[in-house]
Symmetry: C2
Subunit: 463 residues, 2 copies
């Protein structure tokens, strides 16, 4: 059977039909056959009938209900939590993995968090409170304390017995962690290694003792990037004394990688980040995340306006120069954003750091010179053949074309060097490199472009 | 121990020191303690001494050598392949998982591919040739035929025995596939389920029979997105008759997700996609992937130039209008790119499709009106208070400010509607939505902005 998405509308109709017939048994068997993600999609699509969702949710067996709950968006989760009795709420919370519970609690309003915590036993509440204390973008808040530990002297047979006994509630049993009496992490062993080994082999001899681990305070983006590099299914998280306190699993790492890519893309397009899917984001919310940057760009364009106003008097005799302003500004902006976006992505993927700045600026200037000269040559040809000859614009002399083309070369050069340096400098000073993309760069590049243009024009044409 | 990256330079120095002392034993024990990804990084960094890399590579045990080989970039792989004897090459190829071998072969020049295929036994060669025949962006080219199959009537004990017997060479043993006599996929069961079950339980009763699978011809981006949605570790790939032919594992899915995000980001910044890391991309290559779009944008700006030229005669009396052109163009371009980038990302994440186009356009126009009006109000205040009063520019009357502000409102409206529709239309006609981002959008929006501006100015100011 294939992913259900395609026939979601069909499925909703079927379920509405069954609901009107009160045939809950049939609905239940349909739901049980589905993947939690698809059930969550279904419930979200049905949110126009809010009272139906809790009814349908109650049809799910406990484990599937918890798995579905995790996949739903905040709004649907809130609707459900509000409709739950305390004992229903407790049942769901008990079924959740602790990292998922933390993820949900982080998104809920304070009164709901209180209500949820009241339903958990004191031990779980203690752990949840501890996890909630980590900054929300740290490894600590991504991790779960539900992992399998083994002792170094165990045989494979004992290890597998232990996994069978303790594994049910663990988020993963595929990577097992070997700790000593102080809970210090001394090795990892995969269940593949254990299963393929002899029953009487010793864990210590099978385990990988050069363990790559992260700290609770490490940035979640770096942690996620390590999954990308190292092909792990889980990464151990240790405290400052190298004691194992949790693990991060690959499903959460993928979510972080996708979220961070989306955030970077949003920032590059002058949008404040939001993790809501398109149709879940209200008009007002969209307004709020998009307008501030537009406003900033609009106001900062005052400078370009002032540069043009200042130049106007000295260049009043050359009005045809105005027609090339949009082309020069766009080319500069695009050339700059090519460099900045390339570097922003390279920073995200861990390919470059601030210390490479000179090497990068040198590389970008060489690229810029190639680009700039190629563009200038094409533009010179275009201005003489099209603007001058085809359009019969006799103001476009070779000297005028030379002014525009010379501006292009400097323009691309400045744009690319500024474009590659700003994200690195931002990163160095703890600011977000992704903000240094297109719109921000183009504001600076525009001002430089116009200044270069008018200066060259004054020198070469006015005298 | 933590990831080695930070001290890469230190490590290289140590190894060079040991090399000069000919202390290969010490180098070997250093390398063995490292992760394949880190060894590959090390070798790539050392590529200025090409002859050293094959020497170091030969120190690695067979399995680690193969794992390291997979992690290296094409260039380093080529250097090594050229230095290998035929028997060394055969040893490495035999150790590789087949999907990794395909990934490497796809990047190699034809003569190297021939040489590699000559070293494989006829059965492997047949499989490799088959896998190489799938389009390089399909599930078929991502998959590996090395998976564990079980039969429905097996007991757990028999199943685990089978996994122990056949699991060594499989890419994953964590998800096992249950097939019938025709190789038709009838269920999946995780090793977690098997290990936690009783020895005499029957596979058929434990397996999940609503299997989500993909076809060999499915697009790799969609396949990777399914991992993101469903939290799978592996996905089965079936042929048109639902026979199981391979599996895609999560490590490859993450690579595809990262690659696709990078490609989208590059296209949004008017760069032709390239999967090379920043420092591996030559000046000439960077020139080639960046210049075509800049050239296209430069030439297409001819239209905006023509619009300005045409308006010049009728607006000769109003030269101060020119100063607002950069602001209007930038605001329009940014507003449009906010919408287009939002929709491009939503398409990539599977949140929206072409059929939503009216709903999206309606939503975007409401957002645009809110944004446009807010910007217009601020701009009116800025023009009257700053441009008129502070700068003493008496040409800026309330009517002039009204012209600029009215243009802003229409400008943002058109920009956002065009910005959201173009990627959806591109997708519909099989083109790449990501190309419909900032630079392309701004070319169109610029022309519209100027036309609106000059039209409103002519109507309200010239008469």
């Amino acid at each position: 059977m294939f992913a259900v998405e395609k026939n979601l509308t069909e499925l909703i109709e079927e379920i509405q039909e069954l609901l009107s017939q009160k045939n809950l048994g049939e609905i239940r068997s349909k739901l049980i056959a589905m993947n939690p993600y698809d059930i969550a999609e279904l419930f979200e699509e049905m949110d126009f009938e809010e009272d139906k969702v809790p009814l349908l949710f109650r049809l799910l067996p406990k484990e599937l209900a918890a798995e579905t709950f995790v996949e739903m968006d905040d709004d649907t989760q809130k609707v459900l939590i509000n409709s739950f009795s305390d004992s229903e709420l407790k049942e769901i919370i008990d079924e959740l993995y602790l990292d998922d519970a933390v993820g949900i609690l982080e998104e809920m309003p304070a009164n709901v968090v209180k209500r949820i915590l009241r339903q958990t036993d004191s031990e779980t509440r203690l752990i949840l409170n501890e996890l909630l204390n980590y900054p929300s973008d740290s490894a600590g808040s991504m991790m779960t304390p539900e992992f399998v530990t083994l002792r170094p002297k165990m045989t494979v047979e004992e290890a597998i017995k232990r996994i069978r006994r303790t594994g049910v509630d663990k988020e993963t049993i595929y990577t097992c962690y070997v700790t000593n009496n102080n809970k210090t992490l001394i090795g990892v062993v995969t269940i593949k290694t254990l299963i393929l080994a002899e029953d009487d082999a010793i864990v210590e001899e099978l385990m990988e003792s050069n363990v790559i681990s992260v700290r609770t305070t490490d940035d979640q983006e770096n942690v996620a990037q390590m999954f990308n590099n190292y092909n792990f299914l889980a990464l151990p998280v240790v405290d400052t004394e190298n004691r194992l306190v949790g693990i991060v699993t690959i499903d959460d790492a993928i979510d972080v990688l996708e979220e961070e890519a989306t955030e970077d893309i949003q920032k590059m397009a002058a949008i404040s980040p939001s993790d809501k899917p398109y149709f879940k984001l209200g008009i007002l919310e969209a307004f709020k995340i998009r307008t501030p940057w537009l406003l900033f760009l609009m106001i900062s364009a005052t400078f370009t306006g002032m540069i043009i106003n200042n130049a106007e008097t000295s260049l009043a005799a050359l009005p045809f120069l105005t027609a090339y302003i949009p082309m020069l500004m766009n080319t500069g902006g695009s050339a700059g954003s090519q460099a900045s976006v390339t570097i922003i992505r390279a920073i995200s993927l861990g390919e470059v750091s601030f210390f490479d700045i000179l090497k990068i600026a040198f590389k970008e200037s060489r690229i810029a010179l190639c680009c700039g000269v190629a563009l200038a040559v094409c533009n010179f040809a275009k201005m003489m053949l099209f603007d001058n000859m085809v359009m019969h614009n006799s103001s476009i002399t070779p000297m005028v074309a030379a002014v525009v083309c010379l501006t292009l070369v400097f323009n691309v050069l400045f744009a690319k060097v500024i474009g590659c340096c700003l994200p690195l400098i931002a990163k160095k000073f703890g600011a977000d490199p992704a903000v240094m993309a297109t719109p921000f760069i183009s504001t600076i590049v525009d001002a430089i472009t116009l200044t270069i243009y008018f200066t060259i024009a004054t020198v070469l044409l006015v005298n």
